[in-house]
């Protein structure tokens, strides 16, 4: 039963990626303002425009363009950036891992805090601890990330000057190896503030979902039976309540990842983190289509892959799906 679900889910993931590709292709082609409008400005002569359009293969029928587009995409060739005149992949390859690593660390850390705080809040039901946590959660959830970002930046960087103003490395520090970039104190020193800000926003989704789920499960019969077995309250809270409440937390991951990716863009802008988010925003402002397409596609890939991972995690967590029901 499990590998059937696995194969189905992988097929679904690939289908979603293909759909993302299709949506993106049509979105850019059919939008008002032909993609090459910014380059092929009106002032150029007629035949230069035609020549440029031909070089961007815009004159061929749509499906031919689509096939070429897919072919090139599979070779990670997103075309040449209008603005920087260098292949898009060069720009993106460096930034892709910055975003992925950042999101991974922030998400894991935020989920960890969310789950722990949910347990604390349920343990202290209706006491001051619980209401304080709800207030904190609601305010963090409701405040846009750039507001928290600015406030955190102002306090810790401007006034207290504990942390750098942004960016990922001090000037001059860099390393050739892929991992070298991340596994050094300088990176950590630069990363603490943005990750702290991002996790302030992300932790609310797992926190509220888990808290509501745990409050609902308190009335379940297996909790009463566990108590009847002479189990201590703490064990019941962790082993039975929290463990069961993990299922809904993972199923709500799809929504949480949606927020995380938006938060990612904002945090990168505020902290000038050289990730895909900043690249997307600035290239959109500059109407640099190939780069927009590239960053948008890869951000989509991250979201789809993280949804896929959370579904597999759910498969692992909930035995009812792993084992088919047979008498």
């Amino acid at each position: 039963m499990t590998y059937r679900y696995l194969i189905e889910r992988t097929a679904m993931m690939l289908l979603t990626m293909f759909a993302l590709l299709v949506i993106q292709f049509f979105m850019f082609r059919l939008m008002p303002g032909d993609p090459s409008a910014s380059i092929v400005s009106g002032s150029l002569t007629r035949e230069v425009q035609l020549q440029l359009r031909k070089s961007w293969e815009l004159d061929k029928p749509l499906y031919v363009q689509f096939v070429n587009y897919v072919y090139k995409l599979l070779h990670l060739d997103f075309g040449i950036s209008f603005f920087k005149r260098i292949p898009v992949i060069e720009i993106i390859r460096y930034r892709f891992w910055n975003t992925v690593i950042f999101m991974l660390v922030a998400m894991i850390w935020a989920n960890f805090i969310g789950i722990v705080l949910a347990c604390v809040s349920v343990a202290r039901r209706n006491k001051t601890g619980d209401t304080a946590l709800i207030l904190l959660g609601s305010v963090c959830r409701a405040t846009p990330l750039f507001v928290t970002g600015i406030i955190v930046l102002t306090i810790f960087s401007y006034w207290l000057d504990y942390f750098p103003l942004g960016g990922m490395h001090a000037i001059g520090v860099g390393s050739s190896t892929f991992l070298g970039r991340f596994l050094n104190f300088d990176f950590l020193y630069h990363a603490i503030l943005p990750i702290f800000t991002a996790s302030l926003f992300y932790f609310t989704v797992p926190f509220f979902v888990m808290r509501t789920a745990m409050l609902e499960y308190v009335g379940e019969d297996y909790i009463a039976l566990a108590k009847a077995k002479g189990q201590t309250n703490v064990n019941i809270l962790i082993k039975h309540l929290a463990r069961n409440a993990l299922n809904p937390v993972v199923t709500s991951a799809a929504m949480a990842i949606g927020f995380a990716i938006s938060g990612q863009v904002i945090v990168e802008i505020i902290f000038r983190w050289p990730g895909m988010g900043t690249e997307l925003v600035y290239s959109t402002l500059r109407r640099d289509y190939p780069v927009i397409q590239g960053t948008f596609f890869l951000l989509g890939i991250i979201v789809i892959f993280m949804n896929y991972v959370s579904d597999l995690l759910y498969l692992y967590l909930d035995p009812r799906i792993r084992y088919a029901k047979f008498e």
Binding site: Y3, R4, F326, E327
Partner: protein, 329 residues
């Protein structure tokens, strides 16, 4: 009772497709054989009881008759026509004629509607409320189910009523468009024992007065004995025994029926009941062995039972059984 057939079920089958566990795309699709060819007749103005353990297909039969499930094969003949190829007006008439009461009193009424709105719904569906005073019709229906005085119940919500009262409102909802058939799917099994007989009495009297036909589904044999004239014993989607209640309960022929009756606990501590022991669990409904379905748990099983599936044979007037012990060969 004059035995005019009002409804006939011939070789009714219902298979539920199962998601095949193996991923081979052309893997032979596995089916849950809920009903595997049952045939019986309902006579006019009679309560027919259907008994059997959970998973024997009694609720599936009820749902097929009520139109909730579509049958895989076989026929249900009503007024000479098979109900599945009724069209337009005739289909609407059949839908009006058959109504259903459900087991769970807490969820069989729309929690957001008042009692009045719940009971008047069938009238509004068929547009019968045009030239008639709705309040009056609903009040009569409530009085008919002994919810007196009716106006006290009209504008209350289901959560303000007791379990027994809610089941009566469901019954009133059926009566309001005077049906020919009522399918009762274990209507009293969630009610307290002390108020069950009142509901059974009510159903019996209404069946006589309104000349209804009740299709009474239950796993409790004493209930079936109390209310129905004829009964059917189902086991894993096939009829084990069919006959009048006294015939079937007083001298059961099929080994399964004997076991079912001997397992019912007796209220009088002085009278001992000899318990026929039975081993094994109900076999899995997906890949069933050939031959009689009770073979794995029957103490009389012989060679023939493992090979051929016994048909229903009439052993006395109106009483037939599907077991090789009685087959003529």
């Amino acid at each position: 009772m004059e035995n005019v057939k009002i409804l006939e079920v011939i070789n009714l089958k219902k298979y539920f497709p199962l998601k095949s566990a193996s991923f081979r795309p052309f893997a032979q699709r596995q089916y849950l054989q809920a009903l595997d060819g049952i045939s019986f007749a309902m006579y006019k103005n009679e309560i027919l009881g259907i008994a059997g353990e959970s998973g024997c297909g009694k609720t599936t039969t009820g749902n097929i008759l009520a139109g909730l499930y579509e049958k895989t094969s076989g026929q249900v003949i009503y007024k000479g026509k098979d109900i599945s190829n009724l069209k337009g007006k005739e289909l609407k008439q059949w839908k009006k004629d058959v109504q259903m009461i459900f087991q769970d009193p807490f969820n069989s009424l729309n929690p957001r509607f008042t009692v009045f709105r719940n009971v008047v719904e069938p009238l509004r569906i068929y547009g019968l409320n045009k030239n008639v005073n709705e309040i009056e019709v609903v009040s009569n229906a409530l009085e008919a189910v002994e919810l007196r005085p009716a106006k006290m119940f009209l504008y209350r919500f289901p959560h303000q009523l007791s379990g027994g009262q809610r089941q009566r409102v469901s019954l009133a909802r059926c009566l309001v468009i005077n049906p020919k058939f009522i399918i009762a799917d274990e209507p009293v099994s969630m009610l307290d024992v002390s108020i069950r007989s009142a509901f059974l009495e009510l159903l019996k009297n209404l069946q006589q007065e309104e000349e209804l036909n009740v299709f009474y589904i239950s796993h409790n044999l004493s209930e079936i004995r109390y209310i129905s004239q004829r009964m059917v014993i189902l086991y894993l989607g096939k009829i084990a025994e069919i006959g009048s209640t006294d015939q079937v309960i007083d001298n059961p022929k099929h080994p399964y029926t004997q076991k079912l009756i001997s397992a019912v606990p007796i209220i009088d501590p002085n009278r001992k009941r000899e318990r026929i022991s039975i081993e094994g669990e109900i076999p899995d409904l997906v890949n069933l062995p050939p031959g009689c379905r009770f073979q794995s748990r029957c103490s009389y099983a012989e060679k023939k039972c493992f090979a051929i599936d016994p048909e229903l044979i009439q052993i006395e007037d109106g009483h037939s059984v599907a077991c090789h012990l009685y087959s003529r060969s």
